[in-house]
């Protein structure tokens, strides 16, 4: 596309994880001497694409390096030998090792007598080059460094060169922990690296960074590339517009739903986000959405509200108890060795006792009741929970929360990996429970789910940055608030 022979070319690349199609036919080429900005909402497929380039896993489709097809033979080791380096979003340094030892872990050539000294000199020289005045010593233990310095070490390490060259460096949210000065140092270095003939793929939620550093911007949505143009042809708002597509049809659809935010309904939850901002307020019978990009403090907020129902948490008041529906079913949700009935009744056991013992008649009655009400597809509620499909397991978790006496139900992105049919059933159930006076706080990264909410708060950087009523809610507005930058 840009040069005669691109360094890397992907053609019609597809990748699925179970039922989730992360990449649905992506074409991308990347040449020496250019910086590609990669943007997109959560789950657009950016990280999958990056792992693919790094050789973490393979995918269907063609992938060529230097014009040579490497499909199927691309591994972490061969990617490294070809000079592809990655800075992953979650830090991939070993916290128990020193800065120099972490450099050694990446470079096989650093061995033999005096390796420690050479590794230290290598990483310190690169740190001096990228982040002048960094204040990091080669013998510092990484775990003792503050997060910004750890990220600096990780970035500098990706650019260090021993036996294999650094030809393509992929930076996934490299500035998320850096301050403005360090971020500008990095972007300046990226430009110098590109000018010297290197290639960079920059993934960032900070659109200003992308527009400033990239030559070409690639916009992804739902596992596809939806726009690809020189950075100079994009503006902030045209980028945001490219990320969302269905902004238009919504207006009519929305008119039908009247906002039910009654001024007279009693307040159930009032909470202040960790970093301040607007207060979150939820009334009786309301469905409140917590939106924004992933990991901007929504889950933390739900957990703090959950805690506040049991003990005093400053800045948060909750009336009438709360129950949580976990998003990560496998780690936070189900008791994998228990039956469906046991999983449903666990939070309500206090009401299902006879003396000090569990009354199995009462627990079975409750489980049967919820099985019927919520439509859990199983011949017997005493079957193990893992005999259910993912969607039905999630239904059991909903039954657990709804079956409790809690007036407020907190939902931490509960629909992850649930099929569309089950989703519709659960949406209907949430509606019905809300009519009956329950309050729902719903963290979701899916735009479609926000449409079921009466009110939406957008989170960025641990704070609420937008407070949208049902009538004001559009995908564009949510995206704008999610990506907004400090001027």
């Amino acid at each position: 596309m840009t040069g005669p022979s691109p360094f890397i070319r992907l053609e019609d690349v597809r990748k699925s994880f179970g039922a989730v199609r992360a990449l649905q036919g992506v074409d991308l080429s990347c040449s020496a001497g250019e910086c590609i900005g990669l943007v997109g909402h959560n789950g657009a497929g950016k990280s999958t694409l990056m792992n693919l380039l790094a050789g973490v896993f393979g995918a269907e489709g063609r992938m060529a390096i230097d014009g040579e097809d490497v499909g199927g033979r691309h591994t972490v080791a061969s990617a490294q030998a070809q000079g592809i380096r990655c800075v992953f979003q979650e830090l991939s340094l070993c916290p128990n090792l020193t800065v120099a030892e972490n450099a050694r872990v990446m470079h096989r050539a650093l061995k033999g007598f005096g390796w420690r000294k050479r590794a230290g000199a290598l990483i310190t020289a690169k740190l001096d080059q990228v982040f002048p005045g960094h204040g990091i010593g080669a013998s510092d233990i990484v775990g003792d460094l503050p997060i910004a310095r750890r990220q600096m070490v990780e970035i500098a390490r990706a650019f260090t060169v021993t036996d294999a060259p650094a030809r393509l460096v992929i930076l996934d949210e490299p500035t998320s922990s850096l301050d403005a000065h360090q971020a500008s140092q990095l972007l300046a270095y990226v430009r110098r690296f590109v000018a010297e003939g290197g290639a960079v793929v920059l993934i960032s939620h900070l659109l200003g960074e992308i527009l400033a550093a990239a030559d070409r911007v690639v916009v992804m949505k739902d596992g596809r590339v939806v726009a690809e143009r020189p950075a100079s042809e994009f503006t902030r708002s045209s980028l945001v517009a490219a990320m969302g597509t269905v902004a238009r049809e919504e207006a009519e659809e929305r008119a039908a739903v009247t906002g039910r935010r009654g001024g007279d309904a009693p307040t159930r939850v009032r909470a202040r986000a960790a970093a301040g901002g607007v207060d979150l307020i939820a009334h009786r019978g309301e469905i409140v959405g917590l939106a924004g990009l992933g990991g901007q403090g929504q889950s933390e907020m739900l957990i703090r509200i959950f805690d506040a129902a049991r003990r005093t948490v400053p800045g948060i008041t909750v009336e009438g108890g709360s129950a949580l529906v976990a998003g990560d079913r496998q780690t936070d949700g189900v008791f994998p060795l228990w039956s469906i009935a046991e999983n449903i009744t666990i939070t309500s056991l206090n009401r299902l006792k006879r003396g000090i013992l569990i009354d199995s008649g009462k627990t079975d009655a409750m489980a049967e009741d919820w099985k019927a009400r919520i439509g859990i597809r199983t011949p017997d509620i005493h079957n193990p929970i893992l005999s259910l499909s993912g969607g039905n397991q999630q239904k059991a978790l909903f039954a657990r929360a709804l079956g409790s006496t809690a007036e407020t139900v907190l939902m931490d992105d509960p629909m992850r990996g649930v099929d569309i049919g089950t989703k519709q059933e659960v949406y209907g159930m949430i509606r019905a429970e809300a009519e009956r006076g329950r309050t729902f706080l719903w963290y979701t990264t899916e735009m479609d789910e926000l449409k079921h909410c009466d009110h939406v708060y957008v989170f960025r950087d641990q704070r609420i940055v937008a407070d949208l009523s049902r009538a004001e809610l559009t995908e564009e507005r949510v995206l704008h608030a999610s990506f907004e930058e400090v001027a």
Partner: protein, 336 residues
Amino acid sequence: MRLTARQLRTLLPALSLVVLLAAIFYLQPRAMSYVGFNLMLNLAIPIALATVAQMCVITVNDLDLSIGTYVGFVACVGATLLSGGMGALPVVKELQASGALPATLPWIMQTPLVGVVALVFGIAVYAALGALIHWRNLPSIVVTLGMSFVWLGLSVLILPVPGGQAPAFLRSLMTLKPAYIPFPIIAAIVIAILANLLLMHTSYGAVLRGAGGNPKAIERAGWSLLKVKMTMFALAGFFGMLAGLSLVGLTTSGDANIALRYTLLSIAGVILGGGEFVGGRISPVGAVIGAVTLTLAGSFLSFMRISPDWQIGAQGAILIIVLAARTLIDRAERRR
């Protein structure tokens, strides 16, 4: 100020050893002599080696519950196969007595090489365990707990009743009397330096420890975690073998149950020496000091005239005191 807390933490194992030594010398000034040190620290050598073995496994976030019976197995092999070949096995001797085997055995039944093969087999089994734990993603506690019964069974097969005889070279090595400095002290220093070089100073050692700190990062950097696990378990098998051989050199005869206590002692030694169960944070020098401290704790309690029945409990109390001190330091560090 933050640095001093870290330094204090690193110095804690050495400090506890000094405090313990001071207390012993106060109670029994005559212990401060060549003979005294020899007597008190003799058994520290096998314990220190077993502790280093345990540390190798803890580095990669696993735990070895079979190290005690493994050391016992090595001791039994040392007291029989390694000194007199298969001819030294009680089973073979019985067969000879009943006339099923001739009085003079062929060369293959007498060569101590069989013992060497058995020891290499032990290390190979350890490496295979590491591979198994990594491949099948099994909890190491379960695998090694099972293995502890296997080692014990093998030991009983080799030596149904305590007996056998340690090879002469082991006995003479363990009873060396160098001038001025008692042998156990030299041995402990050599073990500490070797283990430190191996894990803290070689370039592959950094990768091995990194696998405990962030296995994903090591994998993404293109290293084989399988190889790392196998290396660490094989190292554990190697140091465990040295522990068993030094133990049989001291006791001169073998016994399947000789080292059952080593499993817990070695874990305690690693932790006492500043290591942590997860995260690859270890200190080879600290581990050796920890093992010596635990050994001396026994002597100290004897000097206090505390009955042996209470000694294990008292050792536990010492462990709790040192770990409490460490937690206090950590907390002070975090508050800053």
